[in-house]
Amino acid sequence: MSTTALNAGVVGYGRRSVRGIMGHVMLALVPGTIVYATLIDYRIILNVLVAIIAALCVEAVLLRLRQRAILPLLCDGSIVLAAWLLALCVPPSLPAWQLIAGIVVMTGLGKHLYGGLGQNPFNPAMVAYAVLIVSFPVTMTDWQINVNGSEAAYDNAPTQLPQLPEWDAITGATPLDRLRQARSIIHRRTAPEAPTQPGQLASEPDTRKAPGHATTPLAEGSPLHALRKDMPEGPAAIPITNPMAEYSRFADAAIMRSPWKWVSLAWLAGGIYLLFAGIITWHIPASVLLTVAVLYLACGSVGTVPTIPLIPALLSGALMIGAFFIATDPVSAATSNTGKLIYGAGIGVFTFVIREYSVYPEGVAFAVLLMNICVPLLDYLFTRAVPTSDAGRK
């Protein structure tokens, strides 16, 4: 008995398939990936390819184990997209076997454990990212990138902070890593002068400890840790008079002069393409970016916490790719418009909190995972059903 609608083509409607949607998202990822490969590290292309091939193989095996039709589900493009996103999120220097382990986790734990496409409560790529970062903290935080372009530019920032050429010898860290390091330096330099200043860096008690002190296992071996051990301490350091402004200026320079901002802008361009192609709605990206912006502005205006200026804050780290490509994954995001706005705001808040107050320099992945937990509640609370006659009529 067929009472279903006739094929969309009969009434002249160009229906978009799942594969089409995934294809559009991948298309939107292309410029960002190219910019990444050109300006930062060409190895990212290799990583993306390895991830995609591994993901297809793992997916095929899992579909076979679950006794599902392999070809149609393999071709829907969702796993390719997820693998691509994961490859973009991890350092290009990550050993291939670790990346493949991440892919196995992503496909098995993140997706098929819950019943495959459309059933996963968490974003699979972010599940894999989280597993990778707790399993391989060293390689996951050590951004040993082949700097294609000249990175010297942003080390010559007009700042009272010392030039630290040895950083590049150790690692070509991302700007957010660099800010971490700068913050600890600023803190150490200013702490004796103003020990009672309220609220200042209060949330980072780890850095109050003596340098070289092993902090947490997670931070062990991170650039931060390396820095803490290697930093020359003592009279050579110039006292910093206005730490807040200094930090802001440094942040502005570190981010705006790094090639990473071009990558972020390329993600933004891809995201805008997705918006206009009607693949995603404006709710989640707008609410993520707006929340992060408001929080940075608010903290900046309060003036007791060292923060990054607005534009660099938005262009740093994984915020753009997170807001437009990761948070908008429809399966694990909230689905009503109000729900999406709250979901996005939550991601913004968590991103800010994790960035500013945790051991991790960037928090988009955890923010997305944390908000994924809230999605069932958001979906339950924010429906938009028309009131029934009993409830609505007087």
Binding site: S2, A5, V11, T335, S336, T383, R384, V386, T388
Partner: protein, 522 residues
């Protein structure tokens, strides 16, 4: 929810900026209206040799026939309450025949063999100066739009409060692609339609009257304007942007009057009478004395060589319509659909007869069914849902047969338009899932009612039996009380009984004294 409020404000602002009222959701589909009349005439089919009229009302409830086999019936004569003979002839059978219903089931039908006068259509009643509900009912006028409601009772409900009818809404939207029967009617009979609207306006004393029509029906709009120039009426001709499903009653009312109907609420509750343009014309015909015995049917689809709109008498089988228009599809290789490409259903038998709600017959080659992918919650369905629901969420509950959850997500507000099916990238049959959920909810409610009734009857019966038992007990007590009144009588009776027993037992005893002595002591 502040966000929703902001959205609403923006929506209002956007609406106010435009001349035409916009509707939420819906799909803009390319205009595809095959078979429009070219020379201002709509052909009528030749009388078939059998007319099959199902004994069913618009709900699908069975009707009791008031005619018998062998009886001669006249054109316009009543066959059952609400069912009119569409030609004169003799009743040759009352038997189960396939009917036009998604179930494909056979139901009792009156089969008429038309006689030579069958094609003669004349006024069977006197023309009345003003249309009445009585006349609508006598002439069997039902909605020619989609649901086929009884027009007389609809008018009655809209006007029963004694207050003036707020809005008379003439639905000339016909938003579903490939259906053009109402458009053809407006192109060919604009003058009569305006007359019909005038009669309805007089009948209902409405405060205002609006004809809603899609703005891409240029020829129809021109014809109506021309007719309005000849007979000016105090009404608004409201062109609307062509969005599917703009013609759905609730959506149209919302768009024209700005009133959002609650789930399960009908426009008549708000003093709005929404009548299809073809129904209005049928009402006018009934005023002149003609019963409603035919309708215009659009014949279209990829397997139809020449799409056409024809006037078909009720009871003509689909096979006959196809044969007379030169089509010979078979159900093996073709999909024959009625009710429209999006909201209709496929026929299980071509013998099913055309009824008032058969607006179209669409013949397509059979399409391969595609296995649906899982839902990825892409939100396309909620973007296009004209009822403002979240079909992607509703789907979970409807699939799990969680009726409470389904209702929470607005199952009752779903109008089954099929927009979500059309946009779903995974190819999920959402609408059909919702249809099933609605029906099983209805049946659940029905079963609950039956159970309640059975329980009530059971308890009534128990009470009755208990009362009867109590009455019997009372009578016995009364009798005993009468005896107790004379206490010696009982003592005497007991003594007599004891003596009698002793007398009886003595001769039977053979040396065993235990029992008698014990008896004697007690």
């Amino acid at each position: 929810m502040p966000a929703e409020t902001v959205m609403k404000l923006l929506h209002h602002w956007w609406t106010a900026r435009r001349d035409e009222p916009v509707m939420r959701g819906g799909l803009t589909l390319p205009r595809h209206k095959p078979g429009l009349p070219v020379n201002g005439e709509i052909a009528t089919l030749v009388m078939p040799d059998r007319l099959v009229l199902p004994l069913l009302d618009y709900h699908g409830r069975r009707l009791l026939p008031v005619v018998s086999v062998g009886q001669r019936v006249d054109y316009g004569e009543s066959l059952a309450p609400g069912l009119i003979a569409s030609a004169s002839g003799s009743v040759i059978a009352i038997e189960p025949r396939p009917v036009m219903h998604p179930s494909g089931r056979s139901e009792l039908c009156v089969v008429i063999r038309p006689d030579e006068n069958g094609t003669v259509e004349s006024a069977v009643h006197e023309a009345v100066p003003e249309l009445t509900e009585q006349r609508l009912a006598t002439c069997g006028v039902t909605g020619l739009g989609g649901a086929g409601f009884d027009t007389a009772s609809k008018v009655h409900k809209a006007t029963q409060h004694g207050e003036q009818l707020d809005t008379l809404l003439i639905n000339a939207v016909e938003c579903e692609p490939m259906i053009s029967c109402d458009e053809s009617l407006m192109m060919c009979h604009a003058t009569e339609i305006i007359d019909a609207i005038a009669s309805l306006m007089t009948m209902t004393h409405c405060k205002r009257c609006v004809i809603a029509i899609e703005n891409d029906k240029h020829a129809a709009i021109a014809a109506l304007r021309q007719a309005l120039d000849l007979r000016p009426l105090a009404l608004t001709l409201q062109p609307l942007a062509p969005v599917y499903p703009a013609g759905a009653e609730r959506q149209l009312v919302e768009r024209i009057t700005g009133q959002l109907l609650f789930a399960g609420e009908r426009p008549t509750h708000r003093g709005i009478l929404c009548i299809n343009v073809a129904t209005a014309l049928a009402a006018r015909q009934s005023q002149l004395g003609f019963p409603m015995t035919s309708r215009i049917v659009t014949l279209a689809g990829r397997s139809v060589d020449e799409p056409v709109n024809v006037r078909v008498r009720f009871g003509t089988s689909v096979a006959e319509v196809l044969r007379q228009t030169g089509n010979k599809p078979s159900l093996a290789s073709h999909q024959v659909r009625t009710g429209g490409p999006l909201s209709g259903f496929d026929l299980a038998s071509l013998e099913a007869p055309v009824t008032a709600t058969t607006n179209s017959i669409i013949v397509q080659p059979v399409q391969p069914t595609v296995e649906p992918l899982p839902c990825i919650r892409c939100d396309r369905c909620s973007d296009v849902c004209p009822a403002g629901l979240l079909p992607q969420q509703l789907l979970w509950y409807a699939r799990a047969e969680d009726l409470a959850g389904s209702r929470r997500f607005g199952l009752d507000s779903c109008i089954e338009c099929g927009c979500c099916d059309l946009v779903c990238p995974s190819g999920i049959s959402l609408t059909q899932t919702f249809r099933h959920a609605r029906d099983s909810q209805r049946e659940q409610r029905h079963r609950d009612q039956l159970a309640d009734a059975a329980e009530l009857r059971f308890h009534k019966r128990e009470d009755r039996l208990a009362q009867r038992q109590a009455a019997r007990e009372r009578r016995r007590q009364d009798a005993r009380a009468k005896l107790i009144g004379d206490s010696d009588a009982i003592g005497d009776a007991l003594a007599r009984a004891r003596r009698r027993r002793q007398r009886h037992e003595r001769p039977g005893q053979s040396g065993d004294h235990a029992t008698p002595s014990h008896d004697g002591d007690s």
